[in-house]
């Protein structure tokens, strides 16, 4: 087990193109933490993981595992274990051979190898399958073997590269819980890559949100923090939109009044919304974007409906436990998570309530203003 620290790490696959994949990544990962790299495809999250593993070289910057400088150390000496998206089991070896392959290469004695493999297969429930070949296993079992192959190595850091993306939805939930349990049991540092923000929210101690690097941007590390911190206090519009499902609603607005603890904005619909946001660094008349999560919206008669917004209903989805009403608010997509039997037909004009404390506000550069309250839905 070890800390992992990245200092101003940059990756460029082809220097002649001057197009960085990753730029200025600074992370300080503490021993035993479960870290999730999350971001849309093409943001470099897998590349970053492979750089930590030693499968890609680091263009510039510094990587430390434990206290040692690791930039030029080959993968095996970094003492990391990696679970690949494609599992990468050795098809011509049975499970026991698959798991003991690395230990044999390290010339460990047979008794230790057997003990470690048995221990890992015990943790993962692979005992009855040890003599089988990978092709005789189901997807979930293969996934477990891939994890087992890591465990036997007793690595300082576990690296997971989108391990659940090949599984079906039900199995994914099951494996997600198993991985969470495994982390509790092993107490080791885990770095986990996913594009699924639900996996990120449920598994992580801390989340690293990455975005595809824009030309001229200083870094594509958008935010590094605990899941709830990212949910409640996103640094910018990208993180706000990426964390949370369904996605946060954004409506263009103009600042009309700034107070110490809140402010008033006028939406493009002409409606005024009071937001519990400290907007003192801006001035009246600035263009802003109001952010509001679908799950925080209330019906217009609700006691928290301090402000209101009106739109035209496009589609309503009834999921049984809840309904999603998709609206059009003057060209902005707007989703309202409503109670199950909420009546809304396509074409209806619908007014929903916006609680003051549930508002997020972003300036022209998409940076968030500090929120002054946390929304509490109440009983």
């Amino acid at each position: 087990m070890a800390n992992v620290s990245l200092n101003a790490v940059r990756k460029n696959y082809d220097e002649t193109l001057h197009k960085d994949t990753l730029r200025n990544i600074n992370l300080d990962i503490k021993e035993g933490e479960f870290i999730v790299f999350v971001g849309p495809s093409g943001c470099g999250k897998s590349t970053l993981l492979r750089m930590i593993a030693g499968l890609e070289d680091i263009t510039s910057g510094e990587l430390k595992i434990g206290d040692s400088y690791m930039n030029d150390v080959p993968p095996v000496e970094r003492n990391v274990g990696m679970v690949f998206q494609s599992y990468a089991l050795y098809p011509h070896m049975d499970l026991r051979e698959n798991m003991s392959f690395g230990l044999k290469l390290k010339k460990m004695d047979a008794a230790t190898i057997k003990k470690r493999v048995d221990n890992a297969s015990d943790i993962l429930g692979l005992d009855p399958l040890l003599e089988r070949k990978p092709k005789e296993l189901s997807g979930g079992q293969r996934q477990r073997v891939a994890i087992g192959r890591c465990i036997v190595q007793q690595p300082n850091v576990f690296l997971f590269d989108e391990p659940l993306s090949n599984l079906d939805a039900a199995l994914r939930v099951k494996m997600r819980i198993e991985i969470a349990k495994l982390h509790k049991e092993l107490q080791s540092t885990i770095i986990y890559v996913t594009h699924d923000q639900v996996e990120a929210m449920t598994l992580a101690d801390k989340i690293v949100v990455l975005s595809p690097l824009d030309e001229g941007a200083d870094s594509n590390l958008e935010q590094f923090g605990s899941p709830l911190d990212l949910y409640h206090n996103p640094d910018n519009k990208f993180v706000a939109g990426f964390i949370g499902s369904p996605k946060m609603n954004f409506v263009d607005a103009t600042l009309v009044e700034i107070n110490a603890k809140d402010c008033v904005v006028e939406l493009i619909t002409g409606e005024r919304v009071t937001a519990a946001v400290d907007a003192n660094r801006a001035k009246v008349g600035d263009a802003v974007q109001l952010g509001i999560r679908p799950e925080h919206l209330v019906e217009s008669e609700h006691e928290h409906a301090q402000s209101k917004v009106t739109g035209i209903v496009q589609v309503t989805e009834h999921l049984g436990s809840e309904s999603f009403v998709y609206m059009d608010v003057k060209g902005c997509d707007f989703t309202f998570k409503a109670r199950p039997e909420f009546p809304a037909e396509a074409g209806d004009q619908l007014t929903v309530g916006i609680p003051t404390n549930a508002c997020y506000l972003f300036d022209e550069n998409e940076l968030a203003f500090q929120r002054t309250a946390k929304y509490n839905r109440g009983a």
Binding site: P74, V76, S86, Y87, A88, L89, P91, E136, Q153
Partner: protein, 296 residues
Amino acid sequence: MPMVQPKSIKYRKLATHLGMIVFLALIIFPLLMVIAISFRTGNFAVGDIIPSNPTLDHWRLAIGMDVVAADGSVTPPPFPVLLWLWNSIKVAGIAAILIVVLSTTCAYAFARMKFRGKATLLNGMLIFQMFPSVLALVAIYALFNKIGDYVPWLGLNTHGGLILAYLGGIALHVWTIKGYFETIDPALEESAAIDGASPWQAFRLILLPLSVPILAVVFILAFIGVVTEVPMASVLISDINNMTLAVGSQLYFNPQNILWGDFAAAAVLSGFPITVVFLMAQRYLVSGLTAGGVKG
């Protein structure tokens, strides 16, 4: 594939089978003719497909036995056919093994390593291979003549030299194996690297065992290529006892007296090693070796 088919499929199937049978007959007929000639009395190219007076004389001569005619005259075997056969097997076997070794390692470099001029080299190899090696025979003769001055066992008229010459023609095999390597998920070797395998170990313990089918194919192709090769062997080998069967059997074609019967027996004989090698290699030609390793 249980799919609903229209009625006409029956007739189409029948037609397909008929077509295949005709095609097969066309392919097999020449072989049957050669076999027939080898059992026909006298050295005639034309005659019945089922010999009216079958004789084993040509086969006796081919495997090195004297033939005693009814009048008591003895015909000794004109050429050492079995020795030629052995030469062919020896040269083809060794050359095929070396070709597999060379082209596999070469293909690994092209499939997995990054180096400058990779594409140029690959295309260059392919283009050079397109010139028939016959065109370079003069050069090859001169080269091996010179090599023989320094390393006698690689010079003219040696099997070593002949094998060395055959090792020049591996570009197509490199392409074939490279193509197969590229279908194997590199994550397997990356995983091995994290497990502590050196590039050589990852190649030897992970990639090679998964590539056995393509290695078998290349071995068979190389073996057949060498057994049937004539121009290079006929220029490099001049001593009758060092000839391969393909070269030696042309000695039956005297301008005045072509020994069709003896030639046919030798020709059928040359098919044996290829058949045996193919049967042996067949069990390695299995598909699905890589199944289950990665999400397909």
